[in-house]
Symmetry: D2
Subunit: 328 residues, 4 copies
């Protein structure tokens, strides 16, 4: 019979994402509501290894819902990848009398949680928190919506300059393995072209399309490029290639970089984080483990961590079509 | 046999919403992509009645995706509610050789479109554009996500003052018949209480809950109140009632008002508007009429206008529960 | 001979303003830099009376520069208006071995500081922190620039709706005694008319001007009204009066309210707060008292509290002229 | 005797800056107010050379006050640097019967205007519009305040990530020849170090200071670097150098790039643009030429273009001191 859960630990791990604080707050307050103790570990699994944690109550998380980053800090712990590291972590868990963990992060985090559960039989529930939206088992990850708004606002600003100077801008956005940010922010920003890792349009097509749009009277253009775009050139090489082949164009590059991870979370991300984390706590109290909570078809759902890790969500091909139609 | 659609009209009607320009742009560009003419009517159905329209092409809608409001302006036409008004509108449509209409607005707009179709056999497709999110047949209306962000940012600011002065703030948000904005923005802003038209908590409970939260050491509180809240008092009376009964509280009122309708649309609303309107044009070209496009379970779908008008979406009761848990 | 200053207290008092946290941070860090102790009193003079304070060091103020509100909270202490209240405050000061105070607030705060100094010989320096910009002895008060941006962004949103619906909007902004916010934000937002306490244009002129602008083809208008406007009607009565006399207009009212006090401070306010507060600490360490620091002609200056309290800055008449010219 | 000015041309030239549209609007409306014709040239002097212009009236500039970029577009015309180019421009001016020009831009623009006036006796008034704030004869250039806010908001976001991951961030901001943006935004963002072209702190000092701040318990740091910083390394080399010497640090680089030029202008920039441009038109109508308008000591002033071009404003050394004190 499952042990009664009386004390839950929470941590944020991997790249930070807006809404992680809203998620922490929801875990803490759901624990308070259900008269369950809650402790927060600092710097992800590294804090578990080092025993670096703090008791959290409703007051500890006051007014953090609107803040970017994570009050628990985040890290990618190399030590936790080793058996010894995980043993130390298990020792902390035991000593601190913690019954279960809520893990807020991406698939690296969940993989760590799954193996930790297998080796040391500690209940874990994963909550998808990453700007990349590349987690199977949820339509939206916490932080993704905010990152899209940040990117779109930045491109709106670049558009001011592009239009004023009749320029071509290459804007690199985050997403090493997945083009979700590029594709959605590109449509949202009205980009003329969008280059993503999932689809290799080829340089020819890019040149062709830019030439056509110039001939049609367009004097400025925005090309959104995902970090991990498949064309095999980085964004600076890409810009150079294009200007060599289309000398009419005055091309510039902007790499948006880390501003995409920060900022006050959008309402969507705050509500998503709140709903997922209440459910995460409830699942633990209900004796569940090794699950991930997600938002599927407008409802909070859960799946096994195994399923969540088995595959990657597909890019929505229809969005590529929409982008094509609208950049006419 | 259905007539081939060669010329499509588009209009925005009812209360304006952020993303309406993104929607207009998508209609115009989808038409251009499918080699179909497109005209824009000004001030909703009133412009149809008065023959106030303009040819639109891809260039007409350049750089409008990021702008609030609607370049076609919006109105609630009283004349269109009369048979004579609709006859005049039909005359315009005939004279301008328009084969079909895309109607961006709320249920008033759709009701008008439906009767117009019945009387004059003009193909119409509705696109849900309203900040209220009160349309059956779509999980999200265009403008709703942006309005939520506007409200949450405003309450974040009010929270600064509330915390600094240990005050109780009543913040009235839009939503005469539906509490969607209040409920979601209330959770997003971490409101202590949320009052919505769908649920009458009663004044007793409000007093009780505020007293409890003060005793627990909370020195400031935010109560989000929907315009149409059922307690039967307006927000100023509510504040007065509370201060009379809980003299400890220093209470203030802010009515957010029309800032909720404006502003640059969020990425979500821009992508939603783009997807729905491409589909709207494609449905018309496919010979469909009397339909509404919507976003259901993360997919673009369509239903009959009749179904869309038959009922109202329910408030998500689970969100009330979440709010309760998190305002601990 | 003046006692050496070894321990400085800081407080925020009166209405809160964005940039107060940047000011507190600068006081604390300047103290650290000059090896001087620093304590923060909560809720303005009330915290001095009650002995409610905390030691502050460089770490206590980490990452607060970007936050609205004030971590020390603010209040208007009625007790401090009495001799007894001030005696209690002096007792705290003595007991806590505090040598001097930095007072961040408006003229009520400075008046309190001046009398406190006279009665109990405690060194005080005032720092102008209020959104109203109504302090003599500085061209800018901390918080004013941020409030202007908040108002202008809000009116930009209202303009979206006003244009879309051809409406007339009356927007009430803060400034009970001074029209600084109304005048500058009105010009910044491109308002058609600006009503301020310093100037009574009269209702006739307003009607005349609105009529003229309608005739010239303007279909929407924004009138910015200062809380304390001299026409002697509140903004709702004003709107009613106008619609009765100009029935063509569809008029609406928005009272911006407390969102004007909150929000992350602008760069200007953060730098201003930083510069003024470093100077405040240096003045104290230099043996000065009863002074206010200010920003005059692009330089940090200081004047006696007496001079600061003697008069009120005049509204810039040239700005009224500019508004007139630009609303053509 | 000076010819009566009956027709004024306006153009924006050089790098675009937020507030240029507010400036254009003010020129156009001031002309309308004084019953003077106004035409706008596209793409700076290039549009004058090519005769690419449009009549502008009060309606043409409706609702542009809030928009970034410039509706007249901007460019750096190489042709105008030649005598032949300027002759063509003078021909346009004559043919279009334009009596005077308002030139919105930086010192390149003013230099062009001055020589154009000398060769062809056309009245010109310069208005300082550039984000760099590097113009002698004004305390603030149009666009500078907005750029500072954009930078500070971006660094606030990066701070979220830096704090969450205990990282060191190097953030490169604009300012090839002048450190104004770096210095003010660095103070506003609470940067630990600021590197500007005007001052070579040396790499030693940077290492020393970072080491000290790490030892004092600071786990994350922001270093703001001006494009044209004197250390003689670009920001990537700088980051590499630091990580080689301080291997404890996990360092990242963000180059903010062109987002700094765009965006809706701040209230300050809108009011500044409005005031300067009304004055520019009034000076022309008053028979003046070869002047630049500026904002000095809180007043609109003017100086000769010659004086404006003679020197560069000095960096405020006191701000370096403030930065030093506050990054304790």
């Amino acid at each position: 019979m499952a042990k009664k859960i009386q004390r839950i630990g929470v941590l944020t791990s991997g790249g930070d994402a807006p809404g992680m604080n809203a998620a922490i707050r929801a875990v803490v307050r759901a624990c308070a509501y259900y008269h369950t103790d809650c402790v927060g570990f600092y710097r992800g699994f590294q804090g578990v290894i080092e025993g670096d944690y703090e008791e959290l109550n409703a007051r500890s998380v006051r007014n953090i819902i609107s803040r970017g980053g994570t009050i628990l800090k985040s890290a990618r712990s190399r030590e936790f990848l080793t058996k010894e590291g995980r043993q130390k972590a298990a020792d902390t868990i035991k000593k601190a009398e913690i019954d279960a963990l809520v893990l807020i992060g991406g698939d690296g985090t969940f993989r760590g949680g799954k193996i930790f559960n297998e080796e040391h039989n500690i209940s874990v529930i994963g909550v998808p928190g990453t700007i990349d939206n590349d987690i199977f088992g949820t339509n939206y990850t916490i932080g993704y919506d905010t990152a899209l708004n940040t990117v779109v606002e930045a491109i709106d600003k670049i558009r001011d300059t592009a239009s004023s100077h009749n320029r071509l801008f290459f804007v690199e956005v985050m997403g090493r393995d997945a083009g979700f940010i590029a594709l959605n922010s590109g449509i949202g920003a009205g980009a003329e072209e969008i280059l993503i890792p999932e689809e290799n349009l080829g340089l020819e097509r890019l040149l062709f399309s830019l030439e056509r749009s110039r001939r049609s009277g367009k004097t400025s253009s925005i090309v959104v490029v995902s970090e991990g775009d498949k064309i095999g050139k980085n964004v600076f090489q890409l810009a150079e290639y294009v200007t060599q082949n289309l000398p009419d164009y005055d091309a510039r590059v902007t790499v948006l970089g880390h501003i995409q991870r920060g900022g006050s979370p959008s309402c969507f991300d705050r509500v998503l984080a709140s709903r997922l984390c209440v459910r995460a706590v409830e699942l633990l109290l209900d004796g569940q483990t090794n699950m991930m909570v997600g938002f599927i078809n407008n409802k909070v759902e859960s799946c096994s961590l195994e399923d969540a890790l088995k595959s990657k969500p597909d890019i929505n091909k229809d969005l590529l079509r929409i982008s094509d139609i609208l950049s006419t």
